[in-house]
């Protein structure tokens, strides 16, 4: 990565929004709004500060600055989930819930087919199921998924947005059962 050139060409407003949205989605997946008392925007600001002051060295990374920051954020949040494994407490009511993200694989019996049924159960349409099937094959970049389904990236983003909502519905439903 040409780190300094990337810094000069980065749209920080856009990148900040994307990282905050991603952090929010990850925290929301386990029904929490903060991590170690920090809101998503604080987590993102902390990460930027570490990278820009060379505490976390991005210069030698082979990926882009955006990929590097997303990778770091994902790893930070996942590390937090694993530290708090197996239980997380919701910020709102102090209610204890299981953490679907960090659950050991053998604890979950859900297969691809089972998950597709769950998606259908919360109203996912055929387009969403097609996208999910492509993910299951290991193709996860929206542009690649679009190529596979002969759809534009913009259409894939919209389908994926609906899928995110339905995944959230599944989590809420499982929580209600617990």
């Amino acid at each position: 990565m040409d780190f300094y050139k990337e810094l000069e060409n980065t749209d920080f407003d856009d990148l900040f929004d994307r990282l905050v949205a991603y952090a929010s989605a990850k925290l929301k997946s386990v029904d929490i709004r903060t991590m170690d008392g920090k809101e998503p925007c604080d987590l993102v600001a902390d990460l930027f500060e570490k990278v820009l002051t060379n505490v976390r060295k991005a210069e030698n990374a082979s990926c882009t600055l955006k990929e590097f920051l997303f990778g770091c954020l994902r790893s930070d949040i996942d590390a937090f989930f694993h530290r708090k494994k197996p239980l997380l407490v919701t910020a709102n009511e102090g209610e204890v819930i299981t953490n679907p993200v960090t659950e050991a694989p053998k604890q979950s019996a859900a297969t691809k087919e089972h998950y597709i049924n769950q998606l259908k159960g919360v109203g996912a349409d055929e387009e969403e199921i097609s996208v999910f099937n492509i993910w299951a094959e290991g193709i996860t970049k929206p542009c690649d998924v679009g190529t596979e389904l002969d759809l534009s990236s913009s259409t894939i983003y919209k389908i994926q947005r609906r899928l995110l909502k339905h995944q959230e519905d599944i989590r809420k439903k499982s929580k209600a059962v617990v």
Binding site: F12, S24, A25, A45, E67, V101, S153, S154, R161
Partner: protein, 138 residues
């Protein structure tokens, strides 16, 4: 859910937030009630991030300038013709500045002053081609 499927879903989620249209990201933030609520906080944090970024780029630029100036001093000592000719040309073009007429009397600071507006990558390449070791990273 298998571990691989879980990883694929998480990869897809990350790629979505990396690549989705800005409007979709804004819409998501609005729905999470993040955008409006933290607008002032976001502005403050972004201001700091942009400042740190500029400072980081400036620090690296200054470090590169210094590394190149040191190499030019070396070229002057070794009397390597091409880089010296280039320095003479820059000096000649800076009519308003008062530099020593003789290259060997140029200080490191004066060399930095001379080259600061030039394309540093070209300068590095030129020094390399003329046998002056390049240790700086641009």
């Amino acid at each position: 859910m298998t571990e691989q499927l879980r990883k694929n879903i998480e990869d897809a989620e990350m790629h979505f937030f990396m690549q989705a249209d800005p409007d979709i990201i804004k819409q998501y933030l609005d729905e999470c009630d993040i955008e409006g609520k933290n607008l002032t906080k976001k502005e403050v944090l972004l201001k700091r991030i942009k400042f740190l970024s500029k400072a980081s780029v400036k620090k690296q630029h200054d470090s590169n300038l210094l590394a190149i100036a040191i190499k030019y001093k070396e070229a002057i000592e070794k009397n390597t013709s091409k880089p010296l000719q280039y320095l003479r040309n820059i000096m000649a073009s800076k009519v308003s500045a008062s530099y020593n007429n003789s290259l060997d009397k140029l200080s490191q600071e004066e060399i930095i002053e001379l080259i600061k507006d030039q394309n540093l990558i070209n300068l590095m390449d030129q020094l390399e081609q003329n046998g002056i070791d390049n240790e700086a990273k641009i």
